[in-house]
């Protein structure tokens, strides 16, 4: 039950993007197509899961004064791993994510969860937390990128959905569209959350 709560927490209640508003750089930058959004979400989730497992296992061995540098080193190691994995097996995805794979190192979501959760809780709860947060991050990324890809190119996951009658709004896949669509999406989520409270 407790594990389920830890897991559920990241999906909605403490959703990293809508509620905590952290990890926005990759959220905005790589959501121009649904495939990129999904790949980024999965890569971040993997790093989050792996580093939460390691850190919650060895948390008693890390001196308190140097914990932040130690966390960053552990995270950076896993990010290097993901980067080489993507380059070897999914070169096209690696090219389109480019700089934002290494930048997972400084994603505040990952460091924040180590500090707030993994360093205080046992391994099994940390795994539940990492899965929930990772999934919470991924679904928002995928949702945002589907909206942007649909409006910007009339396609979803690379398949043309809207017919010839649709005039693509190029702005949606450009930087400005990323800011505006995320802004509107957060607004809609606020509205839904508020409605839920009133009931």
């Amino acid at each position: 039950m407790q594990l389920w709560n830890d897991f559920k927490n990241g999906l909605w209640q403490e959703n990293p993007i809508f509620r905590l508003v952290i990890g926005l750089c990759p959220t905005l930058a790589v959501t121009n197509t649904a495939i990129n959004g999904l790949a980024m979400g999965l890569a971040t989730s993997f790093v989050l899961l792996a580093s939460e497992i390691v850190i919650s296992t060895i948390k008693k061995l890390i001196p308190n004064d140097v914990r932040i540098p130690s966390y960053i080193l552990i995270i950076a190691t896993f990010v290097t791993f993901v980067d080489y994995f993507l380059k070897a097996f999914f070169p096209a995805v690696a090219v389109s994510l480019s700089l934002f794979v290494p930048l997972i190192v400084v994603n505040c979501l990952i460091l924040g969860r180590q500090e707030a959760f993994a360093s205080k809780n046992p391994v099994h709860r940390s795994i539940a937390d990492a899965l929930g947060m990772g999934l919470g991050f991924t679904w928002v990324l995928v949702l945002l990128s589907i909206v942007r890809e649909l409006l910007g190119m009339g396609a979803v996951f690379g398949f043309q959905v809207l017919g010839d009658w649709y005039q693509p709004m190029i702005i949606m896949i450009l930087p400005a569209g990323a800011f505006i669509s995320l802004g509107i999406l957060v607004g809609i989520m606020n509205y839904i959350a508020r409605k839920g409270v009133r009931k």
Binding site: I68, P69, P175, A178, F179, G183, G187
Partner: protein
């Protein structure tokens, strides 16, 4: 002379055409988090510019003389983030000793710079673009200027917006994002201004 022109072009291109925040999406967290007041936004921009210029120099040296010389490219991320963390720590100690006034003004923002992805992004872009030592420093400095420009402009807009009538659900983060989107649209006007 040619070198000089290149540097000027690099400066203009990094500040306006490829603005780190609005076009490259680097450093969004402080951009949204610390842009409520123009004054603090400017201090943050100043501190970031300072660290970025040093990072530009330091990462070029490390990449050229250690990582490339010893063929250790897989240590790039780990070593860059360590360099940035220690640089920020060093800058903090230095400012604390030499200028307590500035130290007080920057306050909590100094240590936060470590996790600003604009800094690591800058460090990673330098080997990617193949800049030389001087260009790396200019690149770091102009990236910082671009960051300062964007964050101060946004803070100015947000200060004015305090008096505006914003729908309840859009208050806070959503309206700031939409504002940033409109700013990004304005900055798109610079694209194609120069190309290098």
């Amino acid at each position: 002379m040619e070198q000089f022109t290149r540097i000027i072009l690099l400066f203009v291109s990094t500040v306006l055409v490829n603005n780190f925040v609005l076009i490259r999406f680097l450093g969004i967290c402080p951009f949204l988090g610390i842009s409520k007041q123009v004054e603090t936004a400017f201090s943050m921009g100043l501190a970031t510019t300072f660290v970025m210029t040093l990072t530009g120099a330091a990462t070029w040296l490390i990449n050229t003389f250690i990582l490339e010389a010893l063929q250790l490219p897989f240590l790039q991320y780990v070593s860059f983030i360590m360099v940035i963390a220690s640089l920020v720590q060093f800058v903090e100690m230095f400012i604390k000793k030499t200028s307590p006034v500035l130290y007080k003004a920057l306050g909590i923002y100094l240590p936060l710079i470590t996790t600003n992805c604009a800094i690591l992004g800058l460090a990673l872009l330098i080997p990617l673009n193949g800049y030389n030592f001087i260009e790396s420093i200019v690149f770091g400095f102009s990236a910082g200027v671009g960051f300062t420009l964007a964050i101060v402009l946004l803070a100015g807009l947000r200060e004015t917006l305090e008096f505006g009538d914003v729908p309840e659900v859009l208050k806070g983060v959503p309206i700031t994002l939409i504002l940033a989107g409109i700013m990004a649209m304005a900055f798109m006007g610079f694209s194609g201004l120069i190309s290098i």
